[in-house]
Structures are given as C-alpha cells and as structure tokens.
Subunit: 130 residues, 2 copies
C-alpha cells in the first residue's frame, strides 16, 4: 500500500495526482499485483475530495488495464498490465521513445545523456515485463 497525498497548489488536478502516485507506486514496487486499493469513498474522505474525483482516477487506470475494478468488491492492481499486439507494441515503444527524446533535446540532453541516466537510475530497478 502507498500513502496518497494531494497538493492543492501547483495546478496539477487531484485526479491526476492520484493516477501518477498509483503508476509510480507500481513502477517502484510499492504496489503489488492483486493488491486492493482504498475504496473510492474511503480515499475520498481521507483526501477530503468528492468520491467522483477518485473514481475518475481509477477509471482512467482501468481503461489502461492498470487497475481492475469490480462493483461491490473494490479496485485492484491488475495482474497483466496493458495487453497489446506485437505491432501495437512496436508502434507504442517507438512513439514514447520519440517523444521522450524530443523532450530531452528540448532541455539540451543528448540521447547518450539520457541512456546513461536511465542505466544508473536506482529508483526504478523494480521495472520488468511481467
């Protein structure tokens, strides 16, 4: 489980902050496959927002196949992650790499810079395919 925190300043919408925290919780290994998230009501009360704000975050992650929701029982970390065809996977990885490099260039980093940074980044060493 992770602890959710909302920052009212900064302009990032509440529901997006929740999405980001769940995504990074998974990526960093603090949220495990099959684990149940707080109910929309529980988290809404805890964070002092409307339950629809939580539901919206969960919904977006469900569309991405990151979460698995069952009305009546709750919301869980999905076992499988996103399922794409090989062709879709190739297109997707190409897209995100291209976009990433474009952003990196904008800030003056070379491809070699970011690859080096990725390789010795110890914050994300829980990442893998399964």
């Amino acid at each position: 489980m992770i602890t959710f925190i909302l920052d009212p300043s900064g302009g990032t919408p509440f529901y997006r902050q929740i999405i980001d925290q769940i995504k990074f919780g998974i990526a960093s290994g603090n949220l495990k496959t099959g684990e149940q998230l707080p109910t929309v009501r529980a988290l809404a009360v805890e964070l002092k927002v409307n339950l629809n704000t939580i539901a919206k975050a969960y919904k977006e992650l469900e569309i991405l196949s990151i979460l698995d929701t069952q009305q009546g029982s709750g919301t869980f970390i999905n076992a499988n992650g996103v399922v794409l065809s090989e062709e879709e996977k190739q297109k997707k990885i190409q897209d995100i790499c291209k976009q990433f490099l474009t952003v990196a260039y904008t800030y003056g980093f070379s491809k070699e810079d970011v690859i080096a940074r990725l390789q010795n980044d110890n914050l994300n060493n829980n990442l893998n395919n399964k």
Copy 2:
C-alpha cells in the same frame, strides 16, 4: 523547412500541434539552427487559423529558448537551446527519465526494452548537446 499539418480531431490544441512539430523538426534535423520559420500571418493563412494561434506556439518556444523572435524581421531557430544550471539539469533529467520509465512500464516495457530501442533508433541520431 518542415510542412505543418493540423489535425482538428484528437483533442490536441492547434498551437500545441505546431509546438510539437517544431520540436521534433529540430530533434530530427529537419529544422536547422538559424533557420527562419514562416511568419505568424503566413502560417495562419496556410493552416486556416488565427495568427494568435501561431504566435502562441512561437511564444512558448521562445520562452523555452528554442526560438528567437524579432518583431519586424521574423522568428528563427535559436542557436543555443535551453540553458539550465547543473543542478536544474540533474533534476530535469531525473524527472523526465522517471516519467518516461513510468509510462514505459504502463505499456509493459522494461527499462532494458526502452534502452535497446533508444540505442538502435535511427530517427533521432541528429541529437546532441550543441
């Protein structure tokens, strides 16, 4: 020079589509340092939008030091790119790498997957620091 195209569907605002096309134009080598972009009016007519829409795109890129505008003469690709302090650079590269890996994970890619993809991607081999 590059050819601009606007997609009215998809939800991406016009000015952002222009920003992205210029950024990637630079990253891919199709826009060279010092090159002049179309005037806000010319591009506005060509793309059938208001000149402020083009101006907004150029403005954001000027704030990022990607473009260089002179009233009366035109808008040009800046020679230097973004200038950040070493500390800001470290924070920035950390941020974009972290975000990139989180997105990659979302689609089931491992760090090794994306590094491999970055290394043999020939679309972006014009990238460098200067």
